[in-house]
C-alpha cells in the first residue's frame, strides 16, 4: 500500500538527513522524495511517497512527528490533493518518427525541449500516473535517458467528495 505524505519541516540544517535517516533506520521504504522551499523562508516541504506494506502508515507518521524539526505531517489521497511530477526524457527519434512523437507528446501535454539528429527530448509536468503512461508509450521508440523529480503534492482547498469512492480524480 502506497501513501503520499506531505511533511512541513523547519528549514534547518540536516533536516532532510533526519527524515531520510529515520526511514532507513526504521526500515520504512521511500518510493520517492521531493523537497523544496515553501511560502515561508523558514519552512520546507518534503513530499514522500511511502510503501507501507511492512509498517502501518500511522507508525510512520508518529515517528516523523518525533523529529523536533517536523512541524506537520499530512497524508494526502488522490482525491483531496493535487499531485504533480516533472519528467524529462530523451527518446530515439529518427527523422521519420519525429512528427509522430511530437503529436504523441501533445496528447500528454509534453513539450519538446531539445532536438538532436536522432533524438528528441520532452519535458512533461503531470500526475505521476500519466507520466508513467507517457513513458510506456515512448518505450517502443527507444527511451535513451529519463529522469523524474519525485512527486510533489498539495491539498486542494475544497476537497472533492467522492461518491462511495467511485469517482476518481485524474489530474
Amino acid at each position: 500500500m502506497h501513501h503520499t505524505l506531505s511533511v512541513l519541516v523547519e528549514n534547518s540544517p540536516g533536516v532532510l538527513a533526519r527524515v531520510a535517516g529515520l526511514f532507513s533506520r526504521r526500515g520504512f521504504n521511500i518510493e520517492s522524495l521531493a523537497v523544496g522551499p515553501t511560502e515561508r523562508d523558514d519552512r520546507s516541504r518534503i513530499t514522500l511517497r511511502v510503501d507501507c506494506s511492512q509498517h502501518s502508515i500511522g507508525q510512520v507518521v508518529k515517528q516523523l512527528y518525533k523529529l523536533i524539526n517536523v512541524l506537520k505531517v499530512n497524508e494526502l489521497t488522490a482525491d483531496d490533493a493535487i499531485e504533480r511530477e516533472l519528467m524529462i526524457v530523451r527518446v530515439t527519434a529518427q527523422p521519420a518518427d519525429r512528427a509522430d512523437l511530437i503529436r504523441l507528446g501533445e496528447v500528454f501535454g509534453a513539450r519538446v525541449c531539445d532536438v538532436g539528429p536522432t533524438s528528441l527530448m520532452f519535458e512533461c509536468l503531470e500526475h505521476p500516473d500519466k507520466l508513467h503512461a507517457f513513458e510506456e508509450i515512448l518505450k517502443p521508440y527507444g527511451v535513451k535517458e529519463l529522469v523524474r523529480t519525485g512527486r510533489v503534492a498539495l491539498r486542494k482547498s475544497t476537497p472533492e467528495r467522492t461518491r462511495s469512492g467511485r469517482m476518481r480524480v485524474l489530474a
Partner: protein, 596 residues
C-alpha cells in the same frame, strides 16, 4: 470523574541566574550549564574542546568537572547520575575519537530514555568537511541515536541551543541531546544572555491523557476478571511511582515490573510479581499470558518481555499509557491508548476507577488473585546450593545483609544482571540502574560511579560480570582519584556467561570464543594497583565477610566472587519463542502442568 488533575509537569527545572554580557562561546557554555542547574559533569579534554576546558580553569563557576579515563565512562557516569537523580546528566568529549567513544552510552541512553546533554568539540568551522585531524561527522553519527542534535554554526546560537537541548532532553520521553561545537566558535566572543522562552513549534509533548480514554480504561479494568499491571521504565522517567503505588493499591491487582521498572514498585509489596519476560518468573509470565487485560504503564512491549508477539498474552485486551505516541500500536495493538504524563494520567485513572467501585461496578478479581498467588507460592525462583559458589547465593546474601541500608544497585549485562533482577529486592525508585534496551556490557562500573557521585552517602553496589568489568575497568582510576566508594562486585565465572549459556542450549555446546579465564587478570591485585580495596570470595563461607568488609570500608572496592561457570539463568523463554515454551533446570520441571 475529575478530568482536571493538577498537572504535573515534570519540572523544567527552575533556571539559575548567571553572569551575562560579553564572553567567549566556551564561557557561555559553562554559563548555560549553570543556568540549567548542572552541578557536575564528566569528560575528557582534547584539541577541539580545549577552549571549553580553558574556560573551566579561567572563569569562576559552580560546575564540577570529573576527569574520566575513557569517554564511554563519562557517558555512563552521566547516565548513572541521571538515572539515580532524575536530573539531566552532562558529558563532554572532544571531536573525532572523543565523540565516537560516546556513541555507546548515547545509544544506551536513547534506548533507555535517559536525559543526557552530550557536548562535543568539533574542528574549526573552516575545516569542517576537509577530513581534518580528529574530524568526524559527529551530528551525522549521532542522528539516529539521539532525541535531537545540534551543530553550532553561529556563536550567538549557543544560549538558545542549550536552552532547547535541556528542555528536549528532560521533557516528554526523555533522551540524549547532542551539541557539537566547532573550536573557532568556542573561542569567539559575543554578548551572552540566557533565554527564558523556548520556541520549538515542532516539539509539544502531550501532557494530559484524554478523559474519555481514561474513563474507558477504568471501565475495562472494572470489567476485567484477570487484569495485570504491566509497568515499565516510563514510570520512573515520569517520576510517577507514588501515583503508581496509589493506583495499584486502589485496584489491587498483580503488578509486573520490567527490568527497567525494578524499584518503581516495591519488590516486597504483596502485589509485586517482579520481572517478566525472557528470564522472568513463571508467575509473572503466566500472569501476563493468562491475563484478560494488560494495564500497560510506561512500557513498550519489548521483545525481551513479550517473546513471540503473536503468542504474547493472547487473550488480553491492552490499555497502553505512554508519553510517546509512537509506542502506541508499535508492537502490540492497544485497545485503549492513553498518551500523556503518567503523573496526570494515573491519578485520573485512579479516581475514575474508585468512582466505579463506589457504584459497585467492579467484577471480582478474587479468583485470579488467588490463582496468581498460588503460582507465586509454588514456583519461586530456585537454585541448588551444590558444587561451586553460586551467583544466586551471593545475590541473596547482598539482599539480606544490606536489607536495612539504602543501596543503589547498578549492573553490567548478562547472567549476573538477570540474577540481580531476580534475587535482589529493590524497594525504592531509581535504586536499580541497569542497561536494558541496548544491553551494554561495561555499563555497571561507570554507572555506579555516577550514581555514587550523585549520592555520596548512600551505598552503591555494581553487580558486574568479569567480561563486563573488563570493558570499563579503567574507570577505577576515576573512582580512586575522586574517592568514590562504590563497590564493584564481580561475579567472576571466567566466561562470557550468557553467551556461553546460549551456546550450551542452542549451539550444541560449542563454546566458541567465550572463555575468559577467572584468574586473568587477578582482580584483587588489579584493584590494589589502582589503589582500591581488592577482596575475594571463593566459597559460601567467604561471602558475608567480604560484603561487610567492602561496605564498611567506604573505599573504592572490587570483590572477586569466584562463581560456578556451569550455572545457567532459569527460567528462560528462548528468543523468539512464546512463554509457553519456557525452559528450566531438569530438576525444576515439575511445573509444566501449571504452565500456560
Amino acid at each position: 470523574m475529575s478530568a482536571t488533575n493538577p498537572i504535573p509537569a515534570r519540572p523544567d527545572t527552575p533556571r539559575v541566574a548567571v553572569r551575562t554580557g560579553s564572553m567567549t562561546g566556551a564561557e557561555a557554555i559553562i554559563r548555560c550549564l549553570e543556568a540549567e542547574g548542572v552541578d557536575i559533569c564528566w569528560g575528557i579534554p582534547g584539541g577541539a574542546i580545549l577552549p571549553l576546558y580553558d574556560a573551566w580553569a579561567r572563569v569562576e563557576h559552580s560546575v564540577r568537572h570529573i576527569l574520566v579515563r575513557h569517554e564511554q565512562g563519562a557517558g555512563h557516569m552521566a547516565q548513572g547520575y541521571a538515572r539515580a537523580t532524575g536530573k539531566v546528566g552532562v558529558c563532554i568529549g572532544t571531536s573525532g575519537p572523543g565523540a565516537t567513544n560516546l556513541v555507546t552510552p548515547v545509544a544506551d541512553a536513547f534506548l533507555d530514555s535517559t536525559p543526557l546533554i552530550v557536548i562535543t568539540g568539533q574542528v574549526p568551522t573552516h575545516l569542517i568537511g576537509s577530513d581534518a585531524f580528529q574530524e568526524a561527522d559527529t551530528t551525522g553519527i549521532f542522528m539516529p541515536i539521539t532525541k535531537h542534535s545540534y551543530l553550532i554554526t553561529d556563536v550567538r546560537d549557543i544560549p538558545r541551543v542549550f536552552r532547547e537541548a535541556f528542555h528536549i532532553a528532560r521533557t516528554g520521553r526523555p533522551g540524549p541531546v547532542l551539541v557539537d561545537i566547532p573550536k573557532d566558535l568556542a573561542n569567539a566572543t559575543f554578548d551572552f544572555s540566557y533565554p527564558e522562552e523556548i520556541d520549538l513549534p515542532g516539539y509539544r509533548p502531550t501532557q494530559t491523557g484524554h478523559p474519555l480514554q481514561v474513563q474507558s480504561a477504568a471501565e475495562a479494568i472494572a470489567r476485567a476478571r484477570r487484569p495485570v499491571l504491566y509497568v515499565g521504565g516510563g514510570v520512573l522517567n515520569a517520576d510517577a511511582c507514588t501515583e503508581l503505588h496509589a493506583f495499584a493499591e486502589a485496584v489491587g491487582i498483580p503488578v509486573v515490573t520490567t527490568l527497567m521498572a525494578k524499584g518503581a514498585f516495591p519488590d516486597s509489596h504483596p502485589l509485586c510479581l517482579g520481572l517478566p519476560g525472557m528470564h522472568g518468573s513463571k508467575f509473572a509470565n503466566w500472569a501476563m499470558n493468562r491475563a484478560d487485560l494488560l494495564v500497560t504503564i510506561g512500557a513498550r512491549f519489548d521483545d525481551r518481555v513479550t517473546g513471540k508477539l503473536d503468542a504474547f498474552a493472547p487473550g488480553a485486551k491492552v490499555i497502553h499509557m505512554d508519553i510517546d505516541p509512537a509506542e502506541i500500536d508499535k508492537n502490540r495493538k492497544a485497545d485503549v491508548p492513553i498518551v500523556g504524563e503518567l503523573r496526570q494520567v494515573l491519578p485520573a485513572l485512579t479516581v475514575a476507577y474508585l468512582d466505579l467501585r463506589a457504584e459497585d461496578r467492579i467484577a471480582s478479581k478474587r479468583e485470579w488473585k488467588d490463582q496468581v498467588e498460588e503460582w507465586r507460592f509454588k514456583h519461586p525462583f530456585r537454585y541448588r546450593r551444590v558444587g561451586p559458589l553460586k551467583t544466586q547465593f551471593v545475590m541473596e546474601r547482598f539482599r539480606d545483609l544490606l536489607a536495612d541500608r539504602d543501596v543503589i544497585w547498578t549492573t553490567g549485562v548478562g547472567q549476573h544482571q538477570m540474577w540481580a533482577a531476580q534475587w535482589l529486592k529493590v524497594e525504592k525508585p531509581r535504586h536499580f540502574i541497569t542497561s536494558g534496551g541496548l544491553g551494554t556490557m561495561g555499563f555497571g562500573v561507570p554507572a555506579a560511579i555516577g550514581a555514587q557521585m550523585a549520592y555520596p552517602d548512600k551505598t552503591v553496589i555494581n553487580i558486574d560480570g568479569d567480561g563486563c568489568f573488563q570493558m570499563t575497568m579503567q574507570e577505577l582510576a576515576t573512582a580512586v582519584s575522586y574517592d568514590v566508594p562504590a563497590i564493584h562486585a564481580i561475579l567472576n565465572n571466567g566466561w562470557l556467561g550468557m553467551v556461553r549459556q546460549w551456546q550450551q542450549l542452542f549451539h550444541g555446546e560449542r563454546y566458541s570464543e567465550t572463555l575468559l579465564r577467572n584468574d586473568l587478570p587477578d582482580y584483587v591485585k588489579l584493584a590494589e594497583s589502582f589503589g582500591a580495596l581488592g577482596l575475594r570470595a571463593e566459597t559460601e563461607a567467604d561471602v558475608d565477610r567480604v560484603i561487610m568488609e567492602a561496605v564498611e570500608s567506604r573505599r573504592p572496592c572490587v570483590i572477586d566472587f569466584r562463581v560456578d561457570h556451569e550455572e545457567k539463568v532459569y527460567p528462560m523463554v528462548p528468543a523468539g519463542a512464546g512463554s509457553s515454551e519456557m525452559i528450566d533446570e531438569p530438576w525444576d520441571n515439575d511445573w509444566v502442568e501449571d504452565g500456560v
